[in-house]
Each structure stands twice: as structure tokens, then as C-alpha cells.
Amino acid sequence: MVQPLQSVVIVGGGTAGWLTAGIIAARHHSRMKAGFSVTLIESPDIKIIGVGEGTWPTLRSSLEKMGIPETQFFRETDAAFKQGARFARWTTGAEDDAYYHPLMLPQGFTQINLVPHWLQDEHGRSFCDSVCPQGRLCDDGLAPKTITTPEYKAVANYAYHLDAAKFAPFLQRHCTAKLGVRHVLADVQTVNQHESGDIRSLTTKQAGDIAGDLFIDCTGFAALLLGKTLGVGFKDCSDILFCDTALAVQVPYETPDAPMQSQTISTAQSAGWIWDIGLPQRRGIGHVYSSRHMSEAQAHESLMNYIGPTHQDLRVRKIPIRPGYRETFWKNNCVAVGLAAGFLEPLESSAIVLVELSAKLISEQMPANREVMDIVAARFNEVTHYRWGRIIDFLKLHYVLTQRTDSAFWRENLDPQSIPDRLKHLLHLWKYQSPWFFDEFDRLEEVFPAASYQYVLYGMGFRTQVGPMDNVDSEPLASRLMQENITMTRQMCVQLPKNRDLIRKIHEHGMQPI
């Protein structure tokens, strides 16, 4: 008789732990009557790292599936809209050098690749502005929807900027009150294993032994279960991505009703970049840099220069980043999610989306019993390795397209030794054909789709050859779509409210569920 897998134990109560608990509990909620359980063990003392402030639109469906009203999410976590990222000074380093990586797909993306058409005649417009309205919406400080748009629905595709220190406790309340997740506040002292290496139970200081069938390691950098107990090694990627330290601050607005931007602003520096995220109550700003190329004092100075003279007394938090990921993510009956699985600089907000994708995969593929777990684990490892590889490629793309030569940091980023082979091949290929649909971006849930590559490549001045007759057949459709984009942009700029105003209205009146 095969014992069914009934008890999932998550260790760690940060964003990764609670998001994973919520996604699994929502998906398997009806099984709880038959004995299925989700337990989350959280140390009463450990502080949440809380680096993830940027998310992807996937979080909307994750929250919706967990049964969270979006209004409540905005009100209780101080969340804001995110409509993409604006990259300043990454290409040439000049004052006016900037491009958008928006969250909307280019017009007609499933029917036609507009890149060659734009390349043939740019009409004096950036790629982003030629194919989607979102860059203009961000420039105008507009929200991605109106107060009459139902919860989780968008006029312009959006994700969230959030306060991780409020997000995890919010998820905790929802998971325990609505989804039947058992919350245990206790310190794990010993991890007890079977002879096979499987984890049998955890001995805690406050709550005795806690047994389980599947253990999810959300213990952050510590990787208590997968790293320390099961001895899985760490694959360091600092030879590809050089940034290894972040200095983070929270900056208040000049006035409570000051405009709030809905794009993450990423401004390149001489040995890294500065993020700038608008939340309703404050901005989150941080300098991510390579300590090989810049001292902490210099990094601090650049950060203060960015913030300006009025806020020099803010508390600066230093966060070490060791770029890389685990050699295996799921071993025996233990799988790591979140920082325990790996960590990269927050350049494209990949941390939370990876947690969602991992939790979803675990949840959808939840092994029926221990016998089949290794099969699921192998698939999970294969997919997750692929994802980390693609994220690293995509982050590196931002560095290899630079024309900056003003510091060793930027020059060394172009060193072929530091560029993954796959990315090198793609860059070679893209000289002759632009990334699009029937590309090798064939995975069902690609973290960064071909559209993201298009926005970064052509935002940073990359050029793909276009033959004289290449566009002839699709020219009428392309012209029509680009014309429609102009009309749509104009309409949206008139119809959409200011980002700050919509957030205020959501707090005041709420959004409707339909």
C-alpha cells in the first residue's frame, strides 16, 4: 500500500514561504478535508530580508487564485501599480539616454513581428512608442486602469510595486484565515532524516517535532534544508553578473500627494545601477553595485547624489548579493523556493515571479506519493534550471548591449568570457533575424518572453538586418497596427487617471470585483 503524500511543511515565513503556502493551499484546498495539510514554520526571531519590491503581472493571477480581493491587497500592503521599467543611461550613459521595457506586448504580437518594420522606418519614434502605448502612459504618470475597471483587470497590462515587509504578513493573515494553512512560530533546531536522506521531521524549540511528507525550504540565504542538511552545492554566477552588494533606503515624498511613477526607474552608474520604486507612502531606492569595482563609500556617495540633498540622514541598509543558484532545487523530499534556491540582482524583478512559478509547478505537479516524487523532482529541476539560465541570459543582455566604456565595470561586462554561450549565439542570430514567437522561446511559461528581448534589444540600439523585400507581404498589416497604436495611445492618455489619484480612489472607494 503506497502512502499518499498528505503533509507539506514549509520552513520560512518570508514572501517566498507565504506565497508558496498560499498557492499550494488554494490549489489543494478541497483535499484538506481528506487529510491534506500545509504547515508553515516560521522563526519568531528571524527578520524578513524583504528585497522584492518589483513583481511581474503573473502576481495578479496568483493573488486572484488565492481568493484575495485586489482592493484589500492595495489597502493592506501599501501596494502600487507597476507598468514596466525605464532604463536610464544604460546605453551611452548620456543624460537623455533612456528606454522602456513595458509590460504590454507589442501590437498584434501573436500575428506579426513588428521589429523589421520598425527597423525599416522608425518614423522618429522609439521601438516601444511605435508598438505600444505604455511608455507614454508612464511618462505622463498615468495609471494602467480606471476606478471602474474590475479588480485584476487591466486597461494597460500591469504588475505591482510592493512593500515586502507588509506583503508577507498580509499573505500570512489570508493563508491562515482563509486557506487553512497551519502557522507554527518556532525555531528549527534539528532536521531528522531517514536513512535514504529523506527528511522525516523537524525538531523545533517551541513546538516539538513536526513531521512531513514534502518539505519546502524557504529559509532564505541560509538554505537550511536543501543546502545545510542535504548538502546541495551553490552555482556561483558572479563571473557573469558582477553586482554583489546593494545599499537600500526608503525615501519619503516631499508632499503626500506628490506624483508617483508606475515604472521602476533603473539608472546605470559607473559600477552598477540604482533602482527607484514608487510606493504610495515612500520611494524605495537602492544602489546595486560590484564591490570589485567600487568601494562602499563611493557607492554610498552615488546613492546620496541620486536622492538629493534633502534626505541625507536616511538609514541605509546593506544587502549582500551572491549571484547564483542551487545545483539542484529538489532533492529527496525537499525543494527550495525563493532565496534558498538562488538570488540575482533585482534588475528585472525576477525574484518573486520565480517564487510564483516554482510554487505553481510544485502545486500543479504535487506528487501523489513518495514513489513518484523523484520523477516530478527531475522535471522540476530541469525546468527550474532552464529558467535560471534564461534569467541570467536576460539580465546579462542589459550589460552586453552597452556602449559605455567609461569604467572597468562596463568594459569588463563585454568580455566574451563573461557572456554565456547561449546568449552569444542568440546575439549572433539576432543580427540577422529578430526574436519573436516561433523562436526558441518555446517553454510554456517563459519568465521573459520574446517581447521582453525585443524591448531591451531595440531599446538599447541593437540592429537586426532587414532585407529589401523582407517586409513587403506584411507591410499593410504592420502599418495598420502602428497606426492603431498611435490612436490607442492618444485615447489612453485621455482616459486614464493619474497613478497617484487612482491609488487614492482605491483606498477610498475600492475596486469592484466585476
Binding site: I147, E508, Q512
Partner: protein, 240 residues
């Protein structure tokens, strides 16, 4: 602009207000906010639907009186309002201010030559004003009751968007956008206990009045057709 002040029998003793239905004075509305107490009368003439306040996104109940902006197909200039005139039109230019009545002195109805007096010489409310006061006895609690009714509909996921597209005899079509109605499949699947609860609270009746009122869309279209026909006839008559 509005200039809303509390109504005062001394200050406003000689004020005259034009109270009858008139497009010129603001009855030209295609969608009028209504309260649940009006449903039994509204259902005889108008589709009763829900819409969202553009400024707050909050749902409210309304009656459809026309298809185009400023079009009230039940208005006949000089002949008043055909059928039941919704309270929200009746009350113009009055507002409630706490337990008192207030008036918008800048409203074109106020001070009109042919207006009606509000007070008798001895300072008693005229029949006209008494009627307005009576209307507000329905409107004020009515708005609150309607709010609770809508919240109950939302709670049970009984609201769904509806696309109303009407074709007219001249070949044109018109879409009524941003409107919502009762989700009948959700209604059918409600658990018995919920149905009983809705019945006891009087909501089941309101729900069925809303569903029944959808039939009025066709009647409304007929009215519009007839009006367009008359318009084209008089046009051809003039040309002739």
C-alpha cells in the same frame, strides 16, 4: 456651477421653481439613478440596470430612458413625462442636507417665470413642495437600501456585465455600454438557504423585477424607431 443652500421658508418664501418635466431643465437624461422602492413602477416602462459611478467605480441602479447622450425618449416637450417619472428627476433642483431640504439656487429651474411657488403666504409648504418632501422620504433611505441590495448582489456574484445592442429600422445599431444586470445562471445555482434569505429580505422580488425589466429594451427601441420615423417624415415633408 451649483450653489446649494438649505431651504428656508423665510428667505425663500417667494421663490418659484419650475417642477414639471422638461428637457430644457434637465430631464434629458438617458440613464437615471433609481432606488429599489421605485422598481415596481419602473419595470412598467424602463430597463432597470446597474452601472458604475465614473468617479468612484461604485455600482448604482439606474433606469434606461434613451440610447444617446441627453436622450429621454419619454419626454414630450410641453406634455411632460410619459409614464412614471423617476424620483431623481422629480426632485430637481432639490437636495437633502441632513434632515433638511436644500436647493441649488443656480439651477435653471429656480426663478423660472412659469415656476410654482414653494410656500404659501403664511409660510406653509405648497402642494408642490410637499410632494418634493415626500419624494425625499423615499430617496434618502432608498439610496441606503439600494446600496445594501447591491452589496448583497455582489456578495453572491449575481452581477454580470451586459452588452445591449439594438438595431433600428434605418439600419443603424446602438450599443449601450458599461451596463450590468443580474447573472441568471448564478441565480439558478444559488444554494437553497441563500434563496430563502434573499426572499425573506425582499431581494428576490427586486431581482426578478430587474430581470423582467430587460423586456423594456425592445419597447425602448420601438419608441426610438417611431421617433426616427417621425423625424424623417417631417424632414421629407419639409423638403416636399
Amino acid at each position: 456651477m451649483t450653489n446649494i443652500v438649505p431651504l428656508n421658508s423665510l428667505i425663500h418664501r417667494s421663490l418659484r421653481v419650475y417642477g414639471a418635466a422638461s428637457a430644457r431643465y434637465g430631464d434629458n437624461q438617458r440613464f437615471v439613478q433609481v432606488v429599489v422602492a421605485e422598481f415596481p413602477q419602473l419595470v412598467l416602462h424602463y430597463p432597470i440596470l446597474l452601472s458604475k459611478d465614473a468617479d468612484t467605480g461604485v455600482f448604482f441602479c439606474g433606469a434606461v430612458l434613451g440610447f444617446e447622450r441627453d436622450e429621454n425618449l419619454f419626454l414630450k416637450e410641453g406634455e411632460g413625462h410619459e409614464g412614471y417619472r423617476p424620483l431623481d428627476l422629480q426632485r430637481m433642483p432639490f437636495y437633502s442636507a441632513g434632515s433638511d431640504l436644500a436647493i441649488d439656487l443656480d439651477h435653471p429651474r429656480v426663478g423660472a417665470e412659469s415656476g410654482q411657488a414653494l410656500f404659501t403666504e403664511s409660510g406653509q409648504p405648497t402642494n408642490y413642495l410637499a410632494g418634493i418632501m415626500h419624494a425625499f422620504r423615499d430617496i434618502k433611505p432608498g439610496l441606503e437600501m439600494t446600496k445594501v441590495f447591491i452589496a448583497t448582489l455582489l456578495q453572491h456574484k449575481l452581477i454580470e456585465p451586459v452588452d445591449i445592442s439594438v438595431s433600428f429600422d434605418d439600419g443603424s445599431t446602438h450599443n449601450l455600454a458599461d451596463l450590468y444586470t443580474i447573472n441568471q445562471s448564478v441565480l439558478r445555482d444559488l444554494p437553497d438557504q441563500t434563496v430563502l434569505d434573499l426572499f425573506r429580505r425582499g431581494y428576490l422580488r427586486l431581482i426578478y423585477l430587474m430581470i423582467a425589466s430587460l423586456k423594456q429594451v425592445q419597447e425602448l427601441a420601438k419608441k426610438k424607431n417611431a421617433r426616427m420615423l417621425r423625424g424623417s417624415e417631417s424632414l421629407s415633408a419639409r423638403v416636399g
